[in-house]
């Protein structure tokens, strides 16, 4: 959404904002519960360079420094602008924007909208803004299946209007991919249904490179039990920001100190380390009944919990959860993707005219993302990508040729007519998520990764023989087929990169190479695709 706004602001006359669901309702932004990192300096002195230093440290030697610097430098501008667009950042009693300390930040830097309303507030502001701009045409229900490249440059896209089943062609002088990440490829995830890696697959198939695909952030304390609905499974992070809380293993013992983390000064354990600690406790047979650990706030007075989270306490009660009485069970879940489309500082991929923004890009977070950097990344990179896409488009002739889109159109038509088969795409989607969780999850080894790769490739080969029910209008089997095609390619990129990185670093943990290899700091794994074959290579 921000890329569309920025493109119009930079003078683009005709901007199409397409989403396979409803615009600004799905995706990760709206799911964000609390923290947004920006060196606003409202809670004491701060500077974007300090934010950058923290981001680089969290990235374990792998950040593309130019992209990280862009993120940290521009974040305060975008966050102030959100306020002008009526995002009501929570304020302290003295009227300043409240900023809390989050793990990995050297000072209080993370602002938020109470209660757990950061994402919905930002998404609503962007939707309102988009609605006011005449140059932005919106198209919901539009599933982009293929990008069209003419003479090596981005020229447009082919898509499917899911509601009617009609194939759609779009001529474009510049394209911005802002499709989010791939956490939905893992069985346990905090994702929205449409975070299935679509944009990575589109970019690969258009000739772009992906970078750092092995780095999937596993959110350490995803909700596990008892069953919780109406709240996002990552909600315990905000609770830890405000209230601390105690992490205890299945025997009720504190365990973080054994992994080198001291939480005497509050919630300070970085995400990669905490994921490792929890997974190790569970693997050693010291987990909670559902296979996680306990998070307890029972040592706190009831009034303090109520004051910090107001109406959320009632929603927890509807789920039978009383924090002042009982602990909850938490465990790592796939949450965010550090890797993504390889772009330069104008957010352009190696395919001229093809840009990316937000989580779809790779590089800014290196091997591990700092808490609170995702929303700034979406806004800052959206602004840059939209701006440069508009500059590229200005005065340029359309390169679109219908013949370049013919194959993609024919495929949509053929699939819409139905395809006979014994296996449905949704069955393979489920299998892929289980496979990725088992072999490409928080802990990996060569044998598991090789097994995952072999099966993913086999599944990719099954695509032409999967059952698709005939029918045009809102045909879910057709949408499943395209989701699976994209997901399998993105998943293969993750598994192949993970196999190629023979060390443990940040979010990528190999049990067969348990230590970081200093020689591999600054060395990236890059994936590309040609004629249906995915390859990975090391690149500086």
């Amino acid at each position: 959404m921000y890329a569309a706004i920025a493109a119009a602001r930079a003078g683009a006359q005709r901007v199409l904002l397409a989403d396979k669901s409803l615009i600004g309702r799905g995706g990760a932004t709206i799911m964000a519960q609390m923290t947004v990192a920006a060196a606003l300096g409202e809670a004491g002195e701060d500077d974007w360079r300090l934010h950058l230093a923290d981001t680089l440290a969290a990235g374990r030697g792998l950040c593309e420094e130019g992209l990280s610097a862009l993120l940290c430098h521009q974040a305060p501008h975008r966050i102030r602008e959100m306020e002008e667009w009526r995002v009501g950042w929570t304020r302290r009693e003295d009227g300043r924007i409240a900023q809390v300390a989050a793990p990995g930040h050297s000072r209080p830097r993370c602002c938020y909208v109470d209660f757990l309303n950061t994402g919905p507030a930002v998404a609503a502001a962007l939707r309102r803004r988009v609605a006011r701009i005449g140059a932005v045409r919106c198209a919901g229900n539009l599933l982009i299946t293929d990008l069209v490249v003419a003479d090596g440059e981005a020229a447009g896209a082919v898509g499917l209007d899911i509601a009617s089943g009609t194939p759609v062609t779009i001529a474009a002088k510049a394209i911005v991919i802002a499709t989010g990440g791939l956490s939905r490829l893992f069985r346990r995830n905090s994702a929205s249904a449409n975070s299935g890696g679509d944009g990575y697959a589109l970019a690969l198939r258009a000739g772009a490179e992906l970078v750092d695909m092995e780095f999937v952030q596993f959110f350490p304390i995803g909700h596990l039990a008892p069953r919780l609905v109406g709240l996002d499974p990552i909600l315990w992070d905000p609770f830890r920001y405000k209230l601390g809380g105690r992490l205890l293993n299945g025997a009720g013992e504190a365990f973080l100190a054994a992994y080198g983390s001291d939480e005497s000064a509050g919630y300070t354990t970085p995400r990669d380390l905490l994921t490792r600690a929890i997974a190790s406790e569970v693997a050693a047979g010291r987990g909670s009944p559902h296979g996680g650990v306990y998070l307890s706030f029972a040592h706190l007075p009831r009034e303090r919990i109520a004051a910090a989270f107001g109406p959320i306490v009632a929603r927890l009660a509807q789920n039978g959860i009383d924090l002042a009485r009982d602990p909850v069970e938490v465990a790592p879940i796939a949450h965010y993707h550090m890797g993504g489309i390889r772009v330069d500082e104008r957010l352009e991929s190696r395919v001229p005219g093809l840009y990316a923004a937000g989580e779809a890009t790779g590089g800014a977070s290196g091997a591990n993302r700092l808490s609170g950097n995702a929303i700034p990344e979406a806004l800052v990179f959206g602004e840059r990508a939209g701006h440069f896409a508009a500059l590229r488009a200005a005065g340029r002739a359309q390169a679109w040729r219908r013949r370049d889109a013919a194959e993609a159109l024919a495929q949509i038509r053929a699939l819409s007519a139905g395809q006979k088969g014994d296996v449905a795409a949704i069955a393979l989607l489920e299998e892929m998520r289980a496979l990725m969780w088992r072999h490409v999850g928080p802990f990996r080894d060569a044998a598991g990764l090789a097994a995952a790769l072999a099966r993913l490739r086999e599944m990719r080969g099954m695509l032409p023989a999967l059952a698709v029910t005939p029918g045009a209008h809102m045909n879910p089997t057709l949408a499943d087929w395209f989701e699976l095609r994209a997901g399998l390619l993105a998943a293969e990129a993750v598994a192949a990169a993970a196999l190629a990185r023979r060390e443990s670093r940040g979010a990528h943990q190999r049990t067969d190479f348990p230590h970081a290899d200093p020689a591999l700091a600054g060395s990236h794994i890059v994936a590309c695709e040609a004629a249906g074959t995915l390859t990975v290579k090391a690149a500086p």
């Binding site: 409803l22 799905g26 198209a139 539009l142 929205s192 609905v229 109406g230 209008h473 879910p476 089997t477």
Partner: protein, 114 residues
């Protein structure tokens, strides 16, 4: 050994073009705390992949896309709890054009192609 608990769902099927509405009945495993959306996704994965339901955020209830009629009352499938008792009847939102099964045309006018 106790028998596994089951829930029954009657789901309105078809598209706007169908001459007569029909209901399909599904029996799904019941777990304490499970939601109607859980059951619908289970049906898609294990019984009928062609069942159409719109959703994005799964169970967080932020996208607000899964609004349907449950036993005649408008509700979010992602937060409505499944019951192990009598069959629940699921229908598309009344007053909106049905696209397929439980999906109605909820796209804001500004987001339509045409």
């Amino acid at each position: 050994m106790t028998r596994p608990l089951l829930a029954r769902l009657r789901v309105r099927r078809g598209t706007a073009d169908d001459p007569a509405p029909r209901y399909d009945e599904f029996v799904v495993p019941f777990e304490e705390g499970a939601t109607v959306l859980d059951a619908l996704l289970w049906i898609r994965a294990h019984r009928d992949p062609s069942l159409a339901i719109r959703y994005s955020c799964l169970n967080a209830n932020v996208c607000k896309e899964c609004l349907i009629a449950i036993d005649g009352r408008t509700a979010y499938a992602c937060t409505a709890r499944l019951s192990a008792g009598a069959a629940m009847t699921l229908e598309p939102l009344p007053g909106k054009a049905q696209l397929r099964d439980l999906v109605t045309d909820t796209l804001p006018p500004r987001e339509r192609l045409g």
